[in-house]
């Protein structure tokens, strides 16, 4: 049995990753291009940071970025808190009334087309305004509620997977020693699922930060998120300052993912070593 990769598989790996990454790399390169015509490389004046300077002097973009950041941070926090509860319900309470419906409701926002989710949430907000006078208008609040709802699905998947692997005997031991359920959660379970909660938060933050379709339905005049601004700009064609923005975002995300990946790998390794030591001690 050959252990190496066949030439075909190796070719597909290289080609596939080139396909995934060349567009992003080209965006990064063109962000340093002096020419306003994005596709023409102005060799005489490039590379330049002109588009980055323009980006940071554009109040509209800065304001939208600020709103997006705030919405994403609050939505991710809300989604993760609800998702932790939902994951507990799904993993620990195998039987409760309408569990099947609950499971469906939790995962459905992940696979449903965003136009449907966005449309339905907008109609809910309109109806709520009619019935109880809240929300008074559409803006940051309605965007946040919508984002919590669809981020929740992704966060549950991440946390649920982790929670299912937690050794219940640790919790039972704490219970036997007289700890209350709430305390067991804080002292035993939470630290064990913390890596999953952190990655769920990060994933939710990015999903919220990036969302355009649902946001367009539930936002109102005066609350424009960054993706909305970007979308309205790029519909008219390529715009060099968007290349600069993309480069910054890709850079930040890559650094975050690299850090998270390294930390996770290191904890995983330490856990494996600790487990080995513990086994050896017996």
């Amino acid at each position: 049995m050959r252990t190496g990769q066949s030439r075909f598989v190796r070719f597909m790996l290289v080609a596939g990753f080139a396909f995934l990454y060349l567009p992003i790399i080209s965006m990064i390169i063109y962000s340093f291009n002096a020419s306003r015509l994005v596709t023409v490389w102005d060799a005489a004046h490039s590379p330049t940071l002109a588009w980055y300077v323009e980006l940071f002097s554009n109040d509209e973009i800065l304001e939208a970025a600020q709103l997006s950041f705030r919405v994403a941070a609050i939505s991710a926090t809300g989604a993760v808190m609800l998702a932790t509860l939902a994951a507990f319900a799904l993993v620990r309470y195998r039987r409760f009334r309408a569990r099947a419906l609950f499971g469906l409701l939790v995962t459905a926002p992940m696979v449903l087309p965003e136009v449907i989710t966005g449309l339905s949430l907008l109609l809910l907000f309109v109806a709520l305004t009619q019935w109880i006078g809240w929300p008074a208008g559409r803006g940051a609040t309605t965007i946040t509620i919508a984002h919590v709802t669809f981020c929740l699905a992704y966060a549950v998947v991440v946390i649920q997977a982790r929670l299912a692997t937690v050794d219940r005997s640790l919790e039972e031991a704490a219970m036997d020693l007289g700890a209350r359920p709430w305390k067991v959660f804080w002292v035993i379970t939470l630290p064990l699922i913390l890596p999953a909660i952190a990655s769920a938060w990060m994933l939710s933050f990015i999903l919220s930060w990036d969302d355009i379709v649902i946001t367009s339905f539930v936002s109102g005049p005066g609350s424009t998120t960054l993706p909305q601004l970007v979308f309205s700009k790029v519909r008219l064609g390529v715009s060099p300052d968007i290349n600069a923005l993309a480069t910054l975002l890709v850079g930040v995300v890559s650094v975050c993912v690299a850090i998270a990946g390294t930390v996770m790998m290191r904890t995983e390794r330490r856990r494996a070593r600790d487990a080995q030591i513990a086994m050896g001690a017996h």
Binding site: Q5, P113, L152, D210, P227, V234
Partner: protein
């Protein structure tokens, strides 16, 4: 005695805790996910009026306190009677199906290569496939606008190779939509395939080789059938969101690229016809629910210990 009281108290708090743990997220999802669908369903049965909201109520209190329900199916007959809407549904399903197939053909060898990579390479490649999940979907689609433009790199390379004499129209074509779909959804295909291939028992392939089976035959006789669930999950994860996709056809497609996500958007924002947009959403939902239930079944099967 004291112990018994303690036990009862603990039992009670556990009960309350259990109710809260289930009830809070359940309540949120009922209010912000299930109820909205019922409202969409309701509005899909009503008429357009010039008001805000621009729909006629279907429940009204008539004289003598009689609750009148006016349900009309005209939006649905309109949707199914109009060639444009039907074509949009058919076209969306076709675009999604072809994109899914292309993603599978590209994604399977990739997933295979990652799952069989040695040591640290496997982690790095896995991270590289999941990284696009964390980068902006919108910006990744936008990157193709620059690449596919008339003066863009793709045209320049094709001309350099002598395949074309002058720049051709790549943007705002169906080709660009397929490209954008495969590009955006490829990671959704690779990840479930990866986990299916990784779980594969290698001794089975060794056994096949020992019995004189050629690698290509072993692939079709052993590997492919055993990763069937991963293939199904990956295909559904690409197909379902692709059917209702809005951003890709809006940015890369031409004005005549009919896709249902775009039609719903235009009905809602451009025509302000909420009932027809709702009826379209309900029909789309019914079509997709078949595939969503299938996906749930596949994923439930994976969770069960084999």
């Amino acid at each position: 005695m004291w112990n018994a009281i303690q036990a009862i108290r603990r039992r009670l708090t556990t009960q309350v805790g259990r109710k809260a743990v289930i009830g809070i997220p359940y309540g949120w999802l009922l209010i912000f996910f299930l109820v909205p669908f019922l409202i969409v369903l309701k509005i899909s049965f009503s008429n357009v009026v010039l008001a805000m909201p621009p729909v006629e109520p279907i429940l009204t209190w008539g004289r003598d306190q009689v609750l009148q329900i006016r349900v009309n199916l005209s939006n649905y007959t309109f949707v199914f009677g109009d060639r444009l809407y039907v074509a949009a549904f058919v076209n969306s399903l076709r675009v999604a199906a072809v994109s899914t197939l292309l993603a599978l053909l590209i994604g399977y060898p990739m997933a295979y290569g990652i799952a069989r990579a040695q040591g640290a390479w496997r982690n790095i490649l896995f991270l590289l496939v999941s990284l696009p999940f964390f980068t902006s979907f919108l910006l990744r689609v936008y990157a193709w606008i620059g690449l596919l433009g008339r003066g863009g790199p793709v045209n320049a390379i094709l001309m350099h190779l002598g395949l074309i004499q002058e720049p051709i129209q790549l943007l705002q074509t169906d080709f660009a939509v397929y490209l954008g779909m495969v590009y955006s959804y490829l990671p959704f295909m690779v990840l479930p395939l990866y986990s299916a291939i990784e779980k594969l028992d290698l001794t089975l392939l060794e056994a096949a080789a020992d019995l004189g089976c050629r690698p290509s035959k072993a692939f079709f006789a052993v590997t492919l059938p055993l990763t069937r669930e991963g293939i199904l999950a990956g295909c559904l994860l690409v197909f379902i969101p692709a059917v209702g996709e809005y951003v890709i056809p809006a940015l890369l497609g031409g004005p005549d690229t009919l896709m249902i996500g775009r039609v719903v958007w235009d009905e809602f924002f451009a025509n302000r016809d909420w009932p027809v947009a709702s009826a379209l959403a309900i029909v789309l939902l019914l079509i997709l629910s078949v595939f969503v239930l299938l996906l749930q079944k596949v994923q439930a099967g994976e969770e069960e210990p084999s």
